[in-house]
């Protein structure tokens, strides 16, 4: 039996009223990728923090490389070779890649001053190890998110790393970037590094992990080699009950009626080059594609938060001239943005104000906001979307991610009589809440609302959409029928046209 890199036994953490960790046993062997699964609030982040020294447990014991330890600080854990990469990257966006990689270990010259040349050399060496091509002089905020993540991993490789913890690294990247990440994880694994991998995407667990531990309400609900558990068993353990059906039934007949939204030859910036499609009432249209393929930008153009360079947008047969969110809202269009915290919700304000924000006119009587009316609408939406909140006065910032998302559905479902645009509607949301969101989306469609759903999660796109458009490099690369779509078919479209374009460009260069 190999000595585990880290072994936690009967770890407990208790705060007044809550017990995020209850007698948790967890071990990671060298050269093992160990997936950590659980719904939001199951205790994953607390467990990660205990390993990384950010939280001191109330009970239980921990051994690291065979010796009992009790971290006093994250710094101590880091020095011992534990590196935690959180979902929110800890990078200095104004500084260069090299400065970020060597943030704790700036090389000095003979005079004791920081040596810029040595820094870039060392940083380049580490990036080469990872097999990524990123300029060490680039500023972090000039890089795409996937590269930023690589910089974060590069930071881990500066010193000796024995345990690498990745908290939902694939939430913000897709396709090839995920492949690159996985390649690097496998390489580190071969070198004997233990890796803890947190993700909500079960497909990835089967692809990359060796063992899996499932947490439920602070306790271990199951642990073992990945092959021993089926996908459904994992979900059942996570949720604590059997989920009969993850995706609701699709439309039986193709949607009829006049187009609710029709866009033709849309151009905007360099991300949206030529996009045309239409949506009919009551259908769910999925948009798949890589991050950066122009998916989000198309949605922004439709809603009016991004400028249009060319092409036309028609709602219900009429062309919109004044392009701003207010006009879209007036025309019955709602938009759940990708980043609900930065772009959608007012975290410091109560649920009622958040629900009513785009429709204050709807509760204004004789010039004054009708508080009772507002409260009633909010209560109704809380019930309709099963938001776990005691009252409409609760501040949205105090709700969980899934419940925040439901508040947004509560808001936009009132507005979106015609069209609801969803950009990554289930990001960072646990499986139980996901299933509820899928049901909500389908219900809205059945009431005749057209749904435009952007998502990086292919199973979700396939499971929910009536039709799927695959985007690539600012174009619609193809359309697939939802019922017969496969992940391979989608990826093929997303990547194939990309390769073709690249090879065309390469050929043109050769000719020139």
């Amino acid at each position: 039996m190999v000595t585990p890199v880290i072994e936690l036994s009967r770890i407990e953490k208790e705060y007044p009223g809550v017990k995020p960790l209850d007698r948790v046993d967890f071990a990671v062997r060298p050269g093992e990728i160990h997936a950590l699964l659980g719904e939001n609030g199951a205790g994953k982040s607390t467990l990660i923090r205990v390993m990384g020294g950010a939280i001191r447990p109330n009970g239980g014991s921990m051994t690291y490389l065979g010796k009992p330890v009790s971290w006093q600080s994250p710094k101590q854990a880091r020095a011992a070779g534990i590196h935690v990469i959180h979902q929110e990257l800890a990078l200095f966006s104004e500084l260069s890649v090299a400065e970020n990689i060597l943030v704790d270990a700036q090389p000095r010259n003979a005079l004791g001053l920081i040596s810029g040349r040595a820094r870039h050399a060392r940083a380049a060496e580490i990036l080469a190890q990872l097999g990524v091509k990123i300029s060490t002089h680039a500023k972090i905020d000039e890089l795409p998110l996937a590269d930023q993540q690589m910089v974060e991993i590069a930071k881990a490789l500066v010193g000796e790393v024995r345990l690498l913890v990745l908290d939902e690294p694939t939430a913000v990247i897709s396709g090839r970037e995920v492949d690159l990440l996985f390649d690097n994880m496998r390489r580190l694994k071969r070198e004997g590094v233990g890796i803890v991998y947190v993700s909500h995407r079960l497909e990835e667990i089967f692809e990359i992990a060796d063992r899996v531990t499932i947490l439920k309400d602070g306790q271990v609900a199951g642990t073992g080699p990945v092959g021993d558990l089926t996908r459904d068993e994992m979900i059942t353990k996570m949720v604590g009950r059997r989920l009969e059906q993850i995706y609701p039934a699709r439309r039986k007949a193709p949607a009829g009626g006049p187009d609710i939204l029709k866009i033709s030859n849309l151009r905007a910036g360099h991300r949206v080059r030529d996009v045309s499609f239409a949506i009919r009432p009551g259908e769910v249209v999925g948009i798949a594609g890589m991050v950066g393929s122009g998916r989000t930008e198309v949605a922004e153009v439709i809603f009016g938060t991004r400028d249009l360079d060319g092409g036309t947008i028609e709602f219900d047969g009429t062309r919109l001239d004044r392009r701003m969110p207010r006009e879209a809202i007036r025309n019955g269009v709602g938009f759940l943005t990708e980043n609900r915290k930065d772009e959608g919700l007012f975290l410091g304000l109560p649920i009622s104000a958040n629900v009513m924000a785009p429709d204050l006119a709807g509760v204004t009587r004789r010039g004054l906001i009708d508080r009772r009316g507002e409260r009633e609408i909010a209560l109704e939406q809380i019930r309709n979307f099963a938001v776990a909140a005691p009252s409409p006065e609760v501040k949205v910032g105090n709700l969980s991610g899934g419940n925040q998302q439901k508040v947004l559905f509560g808001r936009w479902s009132r507005i979106a009589r015609k069209l609801l645009i969803l950009d990554e509607p289930t990001r960072g949301v646990d499986i139980g809440a996901k299933v509820e969101i899928y049901r909500i989306v389908r219900n809205l469609a059945e009431q005749g609302v057209g749904i435009l759903m952007i998502s990086s999660e292919l199973p979700e796109i396939i499971g929910l959409s009536d039709r799927i458009f695959v985007m690539s490099q600012g174009h619609v690369a193809g359309e697939i029928d939802g019922a017969s779509a496969t992940e391979e078919a989608i990826m093929d479209l997303a990547v194939r046209s990309l390769d073709r374009r690249e090879s065309t460009a390469a050929r043109l260069e050769q000719v020139a």
């Binding site: 969110p325 207010r326 772009e343 919700l345 007012f346 104000a353 785009p358 010039g367 004054l368 906001i369």
Partner: protein, 317 residues
Amino acid sequence: MSAVVAEFRRNRLSLSYVIVVALLILLVAAGGFLSDRFLTWRNFGNLFQQLVVLGMVSLGQTFVVLLGGIDLAVGSLVGASTVFIAHFLEWRPDLLWLALPLALIAATAIGALNGLLTIVLRVHPLIVTLGMSSIIFGATLMYDKEPGGSVPRGLADFSYANLWGIPVTAIVLVAIFALAGLWLQRSRSGRSIYFVGGDREAARLNGLPVNRIVVMAYALSGLCAGLAAIFLTARTGVGDPRIGTALTLQSITPVVVGGTILAGGRGGVLGTLLGVLLVTMLNNLLNFLNVSSYYQWVIQGLIIIVAVSIHTTRRRQ
């Protein structure tokens, strides 16, 4: 008034106001204990008279701070407005009906210009209003370096008038605060200030006319500065370009002490009113106790830091 009560009831749990009210009670008790002239009807009359100008300017500042901005031009604007009013009235005392609305319109327009500049130039409001403050101050000094002008009898009388022993100006002030509270809580444009202050991007996505709301908040701050100048000119009888110099920073104290956060989106006018009461009463008491004004500055500084840190700690929990 009912709106203010409603606001209080809704914020009851936040305890922010409770802290300020507790401080006020403590102050009144200490005042009564330390000085036999403090807890008199007459002193309270004086006190209310004193807080009118600060109250008005702080009210305007509240709108801007709720929006996540700051208005450093209010002091200069008050000074300039007093100069305008006093000189206009010296020239034509019979045109009081024209002078006051003109002053208010001009002050509102300058406020609106501040808001517009933050949007058009995309420069931080601190810089825009700091620059504007300097421009207004300089321009006023070009016109008149010393206090001057005069006001007709009627306006002066107004500032000393009492109704049931309470200064009329204080009644007007409270009425304006009540109206402002009602507007903020119950009107679409007032509520929108919280939306824009809470998260400007989100406000835009919700289809709110963000730019219009920003301009409106700064315009209101200008209007409040104009009203403060009317109160001030009525009482002092002259226009003084330098009279507002200290007001700018003083106007921020009651706002933050009252629980409105500088980041915007949270707070309200009741807190500001309580803050004004606290600051003014404190200075009044210290005067009675013959504490030098140097100490008054020090104590006021301590109050700001302590009160705001209490609000912040509470919020973090």
